[in-house]
Symmetry: C2
Subunit: 400 residues, 2 copies
C-alpha cells in the first residue's frame, strides 16, 4: 500500500462548495491502482468446468506445457486399412495386389505392428476378409506420427492467455484435467443515491462491466447521500474491491469522498479526465476503493479507465483496456484541452473513417450507445486534425 499512502494528503480535502484546486493526471491514478490492486491467488478449475468460465473471459494463471507427446503413438489419420507400404508397390486399379496382412483401422486408432501406412477405403477392394490394394501407399501415408501434433514439454500457451474453445479440446486430448485460472474478485458496487439517471440507474451497467472484467458482483443500494451510511457500506467485510457510483462532485451532498476517508483513506480525488473528472480513489479498510461520478457517461468513462483496471488486475488479467483496438483516420477534428485526457465517442463513416458521435463534454449515455467505439486524446495533446491516425477502441469486436 505504499503508493496509496503516498497519495495521502492530496486527497483528504473537502471540495464541496469550493471546486477542485487541481486534478491529478490519469497516469497517477493508474499508478496508484497498479500498486494497490495485485492479482488474487488463482483458482484450479476442472476441465469440465472451464466451458462456463470461458464466457467470463477466463485467463490462464500459468503457462500450459504439454505433459506428453500427441499423439502418444503412431496412429491412423484416416479410415481405411493399415498396411506395410512395401506390400502395395505397383498396385493400381488394373493391377489389384492382395494384402493378406492388411488390418481395417478407423481414424485415430493406433497403427498395428508391422504397418506403416493407411490405404483409404477408395483404394481397396474387399471381399469378406480378402482385401486387395487398388493403389500404392508411401511409408507414413495416412499416418499421424507420435508427437507430430505436440511434443512433450512444448509451452502451448502463456500465462495471461484468454482461453478459447479449441484450447479446451487440446487440453482434453492431452489429458490435462484441471488448470490454474485467474481469480474472480468479489466486487462490491455501492450506488450512492441521487436523482433519476444518476447513480441509482447504474447498477445494471456497472454489473455488466465488472462481470466482463472477471469480477463477481455484490450490488448494494441505492443508498441515501449519508456520510455515515456510505462509510459503513464501504467498510463492510467480504469484498476484494469497492466501487461506488455517485456523490463525488462539489455539491453539498457529495459525501462519498468524505465517507471513504472515514472508512479508510481518501488518497486521490479529482482526475484530469473528461468525462469523469470527479473520480476518487483510496482504501476502504484493507481493500482498494474507486469512487465514480454519478453522471452516467462520466461513470462509464471512469469505470473503463480506472475501476476496470483494478478489476482486471485483481483477476490476473491484462490491465489494459479490453476493447479491440484498430488504427483509423479522423474524418473530423477532435479538439482537446492540454493537460486533460479526453474521451471522444466516435462513429465510423461509410468510408471507414472516424467522426465524433459526442464531445467529451456531453453528458448521458445516448452518445455511447450510438457510437461504434471511442478515441482517447492523451493529456499532452491538444487534439488531432482531420486525416490524423488514431487508435479506435471498438465497442463490438465483430464489425471491424
Amino acid at each position: 500500500m505504499t503508493a496509496a499512502r503516498a497519495g495521502n494528503g492530496t486527497g483528504n480535502r473537502d471540495v464541496r462548495g469550493r471546486g477542485f484546486p487541481s486534478r491529478v493526471a490519469l497516469s497517477a491514478m493508474e499508478g496508484w491502482i497498479d500498486a494497490a490492486a495485485v492479482p488474487l491467488p488463482p483458482r484450479a478449475v476442472a476441465l469440465a468446468d472451464l466451458a462456463p468460465a470461458l464466457a467470463e473471459g477466463a485467463v490462464l494463471a500459468e503457462p500450459v506445457t504439454a505433459p506428453g507427446d500427441w499423439p502418444p503413438a503412431d496412429r491412423a489419420a484416416r479410415d481405411g486399412v493399415a498396411v506395410a507400404s512395401s506390400d502395395t508397390l505397383g498396385a493400381g486399379s488394373y493391377n489389384p495386389v492382395p494384402l493378406p496382412g492388411a488390418v481395417p483401422v478407423a481414424a485415430g486408432e493406433p497403427m498395428p505392428p508391422g504397418t506403416d501406412a493407411v490405404l483409404p477405403v477408395e483404394c481397396i477392394q474387399a471381399d469378406g476378409p480378402f482385401i486387395e490394394a487398388l493403389g500404392s501407399a508411401a511409408p507414413g501415408e495416412g499416418v499421424e506420427g507420435r508427437g507430430e501434433g505436440v511434443r512433450a514439454g512444448t509451452v502451448l500457451l502463456p500465462a495471461g492467455h484468454r482461453l478459447r474453445p479449441q484450447d479446451l479440446g487440446l487440453f482434453a486430448a492431452l489429458g490435462i484435467a484441471a488448470l490454474p485460472i485467474g481469480a474472480r474478485p468479489r466486487v462490491r458496487i455501492v450506488l450512492a443515491g441521487g436523482p433519476r439517471s444518476g447513480p441509482e440507474t447504474l447498477g445494471a451497467m456497472l454489473s455488466a462491466l465488472v462481470a466482463r472484467d472477471g469480477g463477481v458482483v455484490e450490488l448494494v443500494g441505492p443508498l441515501p447521500a449519508d456520510r455515515a451510511g456510505l462509510a459503513a457500506a464501504y467498510a463492510a467485510p467480504g469484498a476484494d474491491l469497492l466501487i461506488s457510483a455517485g456523490r463525488t462532485g462539489v455539491g453539498e451532498d457529495d459525501v462519498a469522498p468524505l465517507a471513504l476517508a472515514d472508512a479508510g483513506e481518501l488518497a486521490l480525488h479529482g482526475v484530469a479526465l473528461r468525462p469523469g473528472d470527479s473520480a476518487a480513489l483510496g482504501m476502504a479498510g484493507t481493500v482498494p476503493a474507486l469512487l465514480l461520478p454519478g453522471e452516467p457517461m462520466a461513470c462509464w468513462t471512469a469505470y473503463e479507465l480506472l475501476a476496470g483496471r483494478a478489476v482486471r488486475r485483481l483477476a490476473g488479467r491484462d490491465s489494459a483496456l479490453p476493447h479491440p483496438a484498430v488504427v483509423a483516420v479522423t474524418a473530423r477534428k477532435l479538439v482537446s484541452e492540454i493537460g486533460c485526457t479526453e474521451l471522444y465517442r466516435v462513429r465510423r463513416t461509410v468510408e471507414g473513417m472516424v467522426e465524433p458521435a459526442a464531445s467529451p463534454h456531453k453528458p448521458g449515455l445516448a452518445g455511447a450507445v450510438q457510437a461504434d467505439g471511442f478515441v482517447l486524446i492523451p493529456a499532452e495533446s491538444e487534439g488531432v486534425p482531420v486525416g490524423a491516425t488514431v487508435t479506435l477502441r471498438c465497442f463490438d469486436g465483430t464489425s471491424l
Copy 2:
C-alpha cells in the same frame, strides 16, 4: 422443413467401406440450415437480469425505441447554483453581483422555475444563504435541455444488436424495465465414442462453442458406437437442436449417419469442406441435427461453419461467423483444391502479415491453439499467392 425434405435421398446412403461418391457444397449445407433452423421465440428479460445475459452475448430481438425524452425536463448539467442568466450580467471577480433568487443545485436535478443557467461553484461566493455571482452565465449554460440526450420515439438500437454495458445504463435512465432478447436454444451434444482424442474428448470444447453462440448445453455420453443407442439419444425429447460428434466417416463403426436416419432423416452427408468433410445433417425427430466428425480439428471446423450457424440462427443472432474479421496480406502462398472450401489456421507475422500455422490436411487442435485466427479459401478458388489480400478471422478480438 421443406429444405430438409428436399435433401432426402442424397443423404440416406451408407458410405461405410465405400467412401463418399460425392460431397455437397458448403453453401448447400448452409442453405439447408437456414431453412431448418429458424429463430425461437424471444424471451423477455428484466433489466436487472440483463447483466449476466451480456456475458452470454445476448442480442435484441426487437429494435429499442426511446419511450420519452431524455432528460424529461431541463436539468442541471453540473453542481452549482441555478440562476436567471439575466441576473448575472456584468458579474466578475472584481464585481460580485448579489443573487437573491439563486438556488443551489446538484448535477442532474431539475431546474427550479425561473432559472435558465447553472453557475459552477468556482463562480460563486456564498456566505450562508447570501450568494454572489463572480462571473456571468449565458442562457442555457450548465443546463441539459429536455430531450437533448434522446428524443422520444428515436430508434436507439436495431434488432439483432449485441448488447453492451452502456446500453443497459441508457435503458435504466429511460425507465425501460424489460426487453425481448434472443432465445437460448437447448442444444443436446451427443459424444459418439471413439479412441481417445476422438469424440469423447470434445465435450468441453463443444460446450464452450455452443455457450458462446447463445445455446444452453445438455451433454450426453460418450456413448458407444451403437446405432440403436445413438438413434435413441438423438430422438429423445427436450432439445431444440442436436449436435453429435464422432462416427461420421467411412469406417465400419461409423454409424452416426445411420442412427440419424433411424431417428428421423439423414438429409446430407459429406461436404466439400476441409477439414470436416464427413459432416452430415438432417432431422432428429422434429429438430435439426448436425453430425460432426470426431477428429478434433475437423469437429471444430464443422462446428464453426455448420453447427454454430444453426445455434446462432435459433438464438436470433447473425448467422455469420462471430470472429472479428480484419483484412490482412499473405506472407506465404495458401494452396487449395478447386471445389472444396479449405480452412487455414494462420499466424500473424511480426510485419502483421498472415502465414499458415497448419495446413487444412493436418489433424489435431495444436495448430488451432497456436494460431491467431483462420482464413477460408472459397470452393471456387485454387488458393492465393504471396501478397494477396485475405479476410483474417481472429480468435481473439483484443489483439488486432
